[in-house]
Symmetry: C2
Subunit: 448 residues, 2 copies
């Protein structure tokens, strides 16, 4: 019997998780990972920490040295290898590697983990960057330093745009942030997000809200000069495109893989696509929302990793692993505070057909006599059933992640407000308040 | 119709919660709280912070000024009023107040919230203290300062003994801690608790483990001179009795209230005793363990408060409130780290008839490139069903409370390890790791 061939397109979060899991399940398979960028297996969520200077080198984002996968895990990892086309009928993938002729890689099982790409494709001018990948961030850093660029404009006020703007400001640059919406960190409940513009400006960032990037102005030499908006041109030495992501599905789509309503690859809970032997995982794939039970597309690192493991296990023919779906749990430290959400927003809940309401409580992290720090909780719930639908948080450092976890487990268990209120959470004067703001919010919502 | 009379014995956690809740439900009832001590409604869990000097005055432990309950809540709060006997047949309680003749207080509904008392009753010598109540801690503090006592011996290495020993050491005293068991913080999984003796000694505290306090040595004037043990007399200027608690049930028992197998008052999930119109709540009462479904006695502040609310609501004749039971969730900062547990210990699980095992993972609080802090998780689970039974944690400051909450909700939902592993907990490099140690422990336990 020929060695089983497991081929994986994409070598960041989902792809390398799939490869590692497949290796564990199948010691004998030949496992190949094709990564089009120069580096695989890095922590993409940490890229802003390199831009800010908090970590000195991109290498810090590597959990393992580059040779680890080949030598320790016996995974045939090929960087700078770009997949060009999938031929499902012949079970092979056309690949271009730097300085080599196109070649075919055959497979018995294929995992597509092509990730996401920027929604906005700016014109091809010099000093226009994105900040989603190692290569993009390396290029941005090189240009900022090498050309001593001082005025940078970040397009997009989602969490990545905010992280990048804050990082570049910490680096000492003149930063402008423009966002086409009226609220920053869209998706976080507005009452919490409303604090962000003031914090952004207090950090010394010039903020333009409700302003669309209509195009770029360029010099004769192809260098960017600014961002064109309805309010005029915002001059810039560099522009960073953080205007949101879309699933990267061109390869899959061309091969006949079915896409879902959000444009991501449609998979079942085994991460299997419509084509035999082809799995997909990570930001290129849709998944299931654990609250609504419906398809959703949420590009987040932890889910990508977990989906990759499921895809890898199933590709290796192991026990049928299933992915439980996501709550879109997101936490991000920004401007000295922490922000997070899990489950639905009010807007999402209403769009999904729930009668929905919110309850907000401003509470504290611990007993009042021990220097408590502020936390604000907004619960999203369904008044008719008293079911919890979502939880959004803003708080001082250290106050958000644990509470998000509590809410995420309560959501996964389908808890009602009364059940949430009765949870036996820890209390200690120096660690946690007698009644956690989560419990108070559940109580108040129930008392209306 | 005569005004309904709700009488509450005890004015700390459970008693005042009951009074406040009853007042909310019944604007017309006459509500009386009898507190035998000089102060009511203080945060007893904060007493060690006064002993250490971290808060300058005991008044900081009052959520409300003394006149608040009478003036703002219309609650007839009587401090220095000691209940002497309950006559259930005539629905009245005999009460002694300082400088007054004994009097009777009638009731329509009675809530017993008499709390707990020290297990060990040391001989009546001067400079022997406990540290459970405002009055006890005030007396201790006055003696330490007024008589310039330097050598203190704390008897009992549970969480209160450890907190008191650490606080007195922070105050600059010579502290000795003696504990009759072989492990400190008994009830926390031994693998985690094993780190404590070293930390206790590193803090400059003299520690004697496996040593029983057999009695006290006293001087002719009635002043304590030391603690008598099998290893000889441990000299001390003051002795603090932290040798564990028992439910304070003398009043209830004399009135014919049924006790449970742990010696606490037996109540149903409405906090109702066997006697009509008599409720009990807080440390004097037993409650239900949410994992085993059986009776348990766990004297902890948060549960006392919540039970008090339920008792108060039901005493006021409101909607039938029910208490959901406890997981014994406990968190405590000690010696620069945090320690906590929720659900069962291995010992408790086996005693309850579960085949049980533990899984321990040493993990980190966040991404490796952002100065992560250590966390150790021990899960207690049932291998035959893969059900989670308990979670014990030791970690750096800020790492324990949130994870305990996550585990508590998972326990309340009756989750299996596989479900715990699939929880969508937050990930952000600076806030939480890609795979939380809780999820890794669940995965590893499942993989055996």
């Amino acid at each position: 019997m020929a060695l089983e061939e497991i081929l994986i397109i994409g070598g960041v979060a989902a792809g390398l998780s799939a490869a590692s899991r497949a290796r564990r399940l199948s010691p004998s398979a030949h496992i190949t990972v094709l990564e089009k960028g120069p580096v695989a297996g890095y922590g993409a969520c940490g890229l802003p920490y390199f831009l800010s200077g908090r970590i000195a080198s991109l290498d810090r984002l590597l959990a393992h040295p580059p040779e680890f996968f080949r030598k320790q895990r016996n995974i045939d990892l090929r960087v700078n290898h770009e997949a060009l086309a999938i031929e499902p009928g012949r079970r092979r993938v056309a690949v271009r590697a730097e300085g080599k002729a196109e070649q075919w890689f055959g497979y018995d099982r294929l995992v597509i983990a092509t990730g996401a790409r920027s929604h906005w494709t700016p014109p091809g001018l010099r000093n226009v960057f994105a900040a989603n990948t190692w290569a993009q961030v390396e290029a941005l850093d090189r240009a900022l330093t090498g050309e001593n660029l001082r005025r940078v404009t970040v397009v997009g006020g989602g969490y990545i745009g905010l992280e990048v703007a804050e990082a570049l400001r910490l680096r000492g640059l003149e930063v402008t942030l423009i966002d086409r919406r009226g609220t920053l960190l869209h998706g976080l409940e507005e009452g919490l997000a409303a604090a962000l513009p003031g914090l952004v400006r207090a950090a010394g960032i010039t903020l333009h809200q409700g302003v669309n990037a209509e195009g770029l102005e360029g010099a004769a030499g192809g260098r960017v000069l600014g961002v064109r908006t309805a309010k005029g041109v915002i001059e810039a030495d560099a522009v960073i495109n953080c205007a949101g992501l879309r699933p990267e599905v061109a390869l899959a789509q061309a091969a006949g893989v079915t896409l879902g309503r959000f444009g991501g690859i449609e998979v079942d809970d085994r991460q299997q696509t419509n084509l035999a032997g082809i799995f997909a995982a990570g930001d290129c794939a849709e998944t299931r929302d654990r609250v609504t039970g419906r398809a959703i597309w949420v590009p987040l690192g932890a889910a990508a990793n977990k989906q990759g493991r499921v895809a890898g296990q199933n590709a290796a023919g192991g026990a049928a692993a299933r992915f439980a779906g996501v709550l879109g749990t997101l936490a991000v430290p920004l401007f000295g505070e922490e922000w997070g959400r899990t489950g639905l927003s009010l807007e999402q809940a209403r769009a999904a057909g729930y009668d929905a309401a919110t309850e907000t409580v401003a509470g504290e992290s611990q007993a009042g006599y021990l220097a408590p720090r502020p936390i604000t909780v907004t619960l999203v719930y369904q008044p008719s059933t008293a079911r919890l639908l979502g939880c959004h948080l803003r708080g001082a450092p250290g106050t958000v992640a644990g509470r998000l976890g509590v809410a995420a487990v309560a959501l996964a268990a389908g808890m009602k407000l009364e059940e949430l209120e009765q949870q036996d959470l820890p209390y200690a004067p120096g660690l946690a308040p007698l009644y956690d703001p989560l419990l108070i919010a559940a109580h108040n919502a129930r008392s209306h």
